[in-house]
């Protein structure tokens, strides 16, 4: 994941999120993007197939 983000990409992401930011807020967000990129890299460790976002349904009599 690149540590920088272009103005165009940031505008696209903000538009998708529906956020209307001031130019100062956009600049601030760009300044911390490297921190997000580093976090995103950290969670991409080599892993086995069991590392899935599994969830469990609490099937009880009421649900059947």
């Amino acid at each position: 994941m690149p540590a920088d983000i272009s103005n165009e990409t940031l505008d696209f992401l903000l538009a998708r999120a529906g956020l209307d930011l001031t130019p100062a807020q956009k600049e601030e967000l760009k300044s911390v993007y490297a921190g997000i990129a580093a976090m995103a890299d950290r969670v991409r460790k080599p892993r086995g197939i069991m590392a899935e976002p599994a969830h469990a349904y609490g099937f009880n009599e009421e649900n059947l």
Partner: protein, 468 residues
Amino acid sequence: MPGAAISPGIPTIAEAARQIAAKQLSPVELTRACLDRVRKLDDQLHAFVLVTEERALAEARQAEAAIMAGGPRGPLHGIPIGLKDIVDTKGIPTTCGSKILQDNIPDADAACAETLAAAGTVLIGKTTTHEFADGGPSFDLPKPPARNPWNTEHFTAGSSSGTGAAIAAGLVLGGIGTDTGGSIRGPAALCGIAGIKPTYGLVSRAGVAPAAFSLDHIGPMAWTAEDCALMLQALAGYDPRDPASADRPVPNYTAALGTGIKGLKIGVIHHFHEVDYKVSEGTQRGIDGAISTLHDLGAEIREVQVSPMQDWQACGSLISMTERAAAYEEWARTRLGDFSERVQRRLMLGALVSGVDYVQAVRRRRELRAELKAAMAGLDIVLTAAAPAEAPKIDNVPVWDMFDRPSFTIPFNVAGYPAISVCGGYGEGGLPVAVQLVAKPFAEPTLFRVADAFEKATPYRNTRPALA
């Protein structure tokens, strides 16, 4: 040692319960004493956003009449408490510290408010919170941030900031906090009290504003671990209104207190506080002292290694910022400017995390949980710091600390394991430092047993902040 000798006017919950049961302490007088301290100190502390004086006195009178007629319902009967202002209270404003909810008056109590009321507690008021339990301290909200009773120029940490300050100063004997990345244990650490984040799912979240659904925990804060145990006894239990609620028997949380800790195995995650993020000298002294005390009490001390704190921080932060952005998406889109500047920044971050990042973080959480489980095999407790240092000045809290400084508390939100912060002494500035103890899922009885033994073997519960 800083502070003053403990005031006889500020009992612990356990002490007050014994005196109330023996009819030596009046719940009405206890409530009045708390309200007097609120009047005297809260202009400096800002621990409360709303004081419910009339209701408190009415509840205290009811409790007193019932106790005189038939004895106390339990150890919380007649005990003055505070509820964090993200906890719904029927007929009482619940603002989440936000301009957006200034007129919000819930028509039902949150589950935790309901269970504490049923146990006979007396509600002194709603305590200050960071806005929607995130991002403080903020000075652009309807109410000012809470201040640390040990030195009011310093921060309480958050987001359960008012509850922490109110308990340390004796404005209440216990209270409710919530903890998504450390919001119970952080204020407990910086205010020198005890605060437990129970196992995920143990205490119902129904009626409490969300921060990040899969990391949110509700828990008690009090002067001692024993008091937290007494409160958790009332709070724990299955609630079908909370989709994550754990359906399992509730053990007795105080039964093992005072039985000693000889033979218990305690692992120390040295690399968290000595390598991954080196704590202050005062905090390190507190941790070393705690290890020595626990060893002297008969515990076996070992070293434990898990992934670096930065890995836990990355995992927890990505999940937290995404789930928070989802929870508050509509208001972020339509009323972003009505949030405090700090919360606006937090909500903006959600736009930078992709769906794939989120799923990778959730997958990484599964691995980290498995790693902690393996590391704790053969251990009863693990120990590390609860906070990196004493409380900073309230006007010197970084806006983007999540990128600069990994959290000592978030690993156990990621894992869902129960964790308690207890006072471990005082640092160079005379403010409290803390130790964090962590147990296996649903092993709160062991956690309280160790925390209580530590507190009773050390002098730190004998001193309140000087202003109290």
